[in-house]
């Protein structure tokens, strides 16, 4: 295929691409600049060059954090990727029953704020934990706790990435291998693995970076084990040293930059797309294989269920572990935390984020993966898209304050409104949906655009009539991902919410901070409920779309 160079500046695709890139610059690069420029300033605003960095690295206990952070992130990335891979494989390539059930179970951690994963672990493995009580003390606080909590946090993301990757596959390859007499291992090694290679590498980096920047887990179960994210907290919220905070913030960007480089290297020549002639995969019968996956997927689901189970226990117990009576009392939330209004606010904010975020992510990913706009723009787009993953919520929150609250900023009016929360969420959760969208988009046959082009059908038409319907599962996943993450997010919005617009996830943090762990568990269950309802609605929509799709397919077939 011949590539078109960046000369087609007047094409609508390029214009859209340019406009969207500029939007991105405004909501990502400018705020980051306003924060990170502080890394080179002294507290009084004079330029000091690299002095802050020298100070940071010459403080041994601070630089130790870097090693610690890498340690937990690598462990998390490896374990989560393996678990996500196996679980998704079981759900797409075996004949186990209850796939729907297993799929929803895998998503449970996404339904809850990260601070709640920590609470569950404390209920299970803490000094007074249910499992510790049975005589198995894993010494939760510290490295173990962080890694466990990060695995819970990153597992659904790893699972989702593989689940989508495994579903787009060309059954003909397996049929051909079958007729050629290839064994199962060979098929796995030469067809399955290469087809998800891109996802595999991406998944490792996504999990690595999520664990690298997460603050929730280290705060609740990290004990004295210092990581970069707690260092930022110490600098910003302990010593009010924004300049040092900015220094740590820039260090957190390193994985995103590396992962961008690796992404460029691996995707060069890697073509994950499958042709429009692809047939669906027929899964062979194999009792032993299914049995293994029953055990694996079942075991993992059980762990996740126990996690929610202890929340129920916490929410309905008078005072764990000393007064074990049953009570509904913890569900009567005090008005001071925002009451029912904070719930409605959370839902409004999450819906807005989901609608706007999904449109932005998908269109942008489409332009990058499939449009004919300039290479330079595409590469800028890719780089920008990989950055948000590396940003801890706290960095996004602070940089938004510095940028949007500046008097000279014409966008100042959005400060303190729901819009700034929505923008912060879109940026904060951008990278995973982007990977989902671009892997899904890569799978579609290149010929769609080529055919449309030769038939003089405008690109937007082939986009809305072909690409969007084909990618609908991915689009809806993205929508839901944005919705659920916005329901549970704390770290970025904690700096940005205003007195008039409080959200439920913040209320949970306040309860946890006030020591009302039971109330926090109760509120988490309510958020869980909302997210399950959202998930249910999503399933109904998907089901209806599928049915419609099937019937139109049949119509088409009958016409042909």
């Amino acid at each position: 295929m011949r590539r078109l160079d960046g000369t087609g500046g007047l094409k609508p695709g390029s214009i859209t691409m340019t406009v969207m890139t500029m939007c991105f610059v405004v909501i990502l690069v400018c705020p980051l600049y306003s924060l990170f420029s502080k890394a080179f300033l002294a507290a009084d605003g004079t330029f000091v060059g690299l002095e802050n960095y020298i100070e940071y690295f010459s403080t041994p206990s601070l630089s130790v954090s870097i090693g610690n952070t890498i340690n937990v992130s690598v462990s998390t990335a490896l374990i989560s990727t393996i678990l996500g891979f196996v679980y998704a494989y079981g759900l797409t390539r075996t004949n186990i029953k209850g796939k729907q059930f297993f799929r929803y179970t895998a998503l449970i951690p996404l339904f809850l704020p990260t601070v709640v994963h920590g609470l569950s672990l404390v209920y299970l493995f803490g000094t007074q934990g249910v499992i510790t009580d049975m005589g198995w003390d894993i010494e939760l606080y510290g490295r173990t706790g962080i890694i466990l909590s990060e695995i819970i946090y990153t597992f659904p993301q790893a699972f989702l990435m593989f689940y989508i990757a495994f579903r787009y596959t060309d059954g003909r390859l397996y049929d051909a291998a079958e007729t050629m007499g290839c064994g199962n291992f060979k098929k796995f090694r030469y067809i399955t693995m290469p087809s998800v290679k891109y996802t595999l590498i991406n998944c490792l980096f996504v999990c690595f970076t999520l664990a690298f920047t997460d603050f929730g887990a280290p705060k609740v179960v990290g004990g004295s084990y210092n990581v970069l994210a707690t260092d930022i907290y110490k600098q910003v919220a302990g010593q009010f040293d924004m300049n040092m905070g900015a220094v740590v913030g820039t260090l957190l960007l390193i994985p995103a930059i590396i992962s961008f480089g690796i992404d460029r290297l691996t995707s060069r020549g890697a073509d994950d797309s499958i042709s429009s002639k692809a047939s669906t995969l027929k899964i062979k019968k194999s009792v032993s294989r299914d049995l293994v996956f029953y055990i694996v997927c079942g075991g993992m689901s059980l762990c996740l269920f126990i996690m929610v189970g202890v929340l129920f226990m916490g929410a309905f117990t008078e005072y764990y572990p000393y007064k074990m009576g049953f009570t509904f009392e913890h569900f009567s939330f005090s008005e001071s935390t925002g009451g029912i209004q904070s719930f409605i606010n959370s839902i409004v904010m999450s819906l807005l984020t989901a609608v706007l975020g999904t449109i932005f992510v998908f269109v942008y990913a489409y332009l990058i993966e499939r449009s004919k706009s300039s290479r330079v723009l595409k590469n800028i787009g890719r780089l920008l898209s990989s950055v948000p993953l590396a940003l801890p919520g706290m960095v996004i929150g602070l940089s938004f304050i510095f940028f949007f609250n500046s008097k000279s900023n014409p966008l100042n009016f959005i400060y303190g409104t729901v819009i700034i929360l929505v923008l912060a969420n879109i940026v904060h959760f951008y990278s995973v949906p982007f990977v989902t969208a671009s892997s899904a988009l890569k799978k579609h046959d290149r010929d769609y655009e080529n055919v449309a082009d030769s038939m003089k059908i405008p690109a937007w038409k082939s986009f809305t009539k072909v690409i969007v319907p084909l990618s609908l599962p991915a689009i809806l996943e993205i929508f839901l991902y944005y919705f659920m993450n916005s329901m549970v997010t704390v770290s970025a919005v904690v700096f940005l919410y205003s007195a008039q617009f409080k959200v439920a996830s913040i209320a949970i943090t306040h309860m946890e901070e006030a020591g009302d762990i039971a109330q926090a568990a109760a509120m988490s269950l309510l958020i869980l409920l909302v997210n399950i309802i959202a998930r249910g609605l999503y399933e109904i929509v998907v089901y209806k779309i599928r049915k419609k799709g099937e019937s139109t397919n049949e119509n088409r077939k009958s016409v042909v």
Partner: protein
Amino acid sequence: MKKKLLSVLLSVTVLASALSFTACSDKDKNGNTDEKATEGELTVYTALEDEQVSTYLEDFNKKYPDIKVNVVRESTGIITAKLIAEKDNPQADVVWGTAASSMMVLDDQGGLKGYAPEGVERILPEFKSDKDTPTWVGIDAWETAIVVNTEEAEKLNLPEIKSYDDLLDPAFKGHIVMSNPNSSGTGFLTVSAVLQLMGEDEGWEYLDKLDENIAMYTHSGSKPAKMASSGECAVGISFGYAGLSQKEDGAPVEVIFLEEGSGWDLEANALINKDEINPVAYTFLDWAISDSAMALYKENYPIITTNDVGEYEGYEGDPLEQLIENDFSWAASSRDDILKTWMEKYDAKSEAEE
């Protein structure tokens, strides 16, 4: 570009003159009640607990039904970071019940504006800023307290705690949780109290020994109290209210104040320095140190800053006696050094054990 520069320069001069103007007129404003509005809307940043905010504001709303108060409540660290980050274009009108040590940082950066609320003379001098027109005024004090889980202590057969030295008993090894002074104000006031009580050399020696018994350092000042309450640790070094409120909720804990005295900090109010001061802000700040407000504070924090001494639940004798003579200016000026030394000694050490 030149145009832009010019406009920036112009706005700076306008701003500067506006500031100096308000600064001048402010002096006549003190005590001039005409400037204080009793209706309007007000944005308050606070680090007080959620439930406290609700009860306190009930009283305010009763007195000033036409003032709508919007509250942003966060932990001390987050709210201070937010105030500092927003300093160039502040959103808050007043800060209410937030650590005096935070107020000093903000004051140094020019974030606060002096205002003497009505009745400020009732506040003891050591509990407000020492400027002629005080930039911040304390309302109550919180102090280091040892929170002991009695059930766990019994199980582990732990000795009684009365003094600082009792905490060094090897029986406590691995059972004490304390907050990290680098991320928590409570952690800092505890460390600073030890250094002030024992002198620097002896103080660090003490902390070295204490460190051997510490299971972990947390990032929040109230967390050790919560961990002790839920039995996650036997002993938490935290602050009084954190332990007492858990006890009220049914936790099997005892709150102990060490006999040598406790480190402490104030919850303080301040007026935020911005171009246009919201006239309702004065009304709020006056109310916030009024007798009725103080009476409410006292229910949660026995030590209030007016010289009003009475009976206190959970405390024996005069709780003011419990407070060490905290040298705020020493603590503020040595803060960086203390934190650095602490970090080098214990933050790095706890890593080596992993």
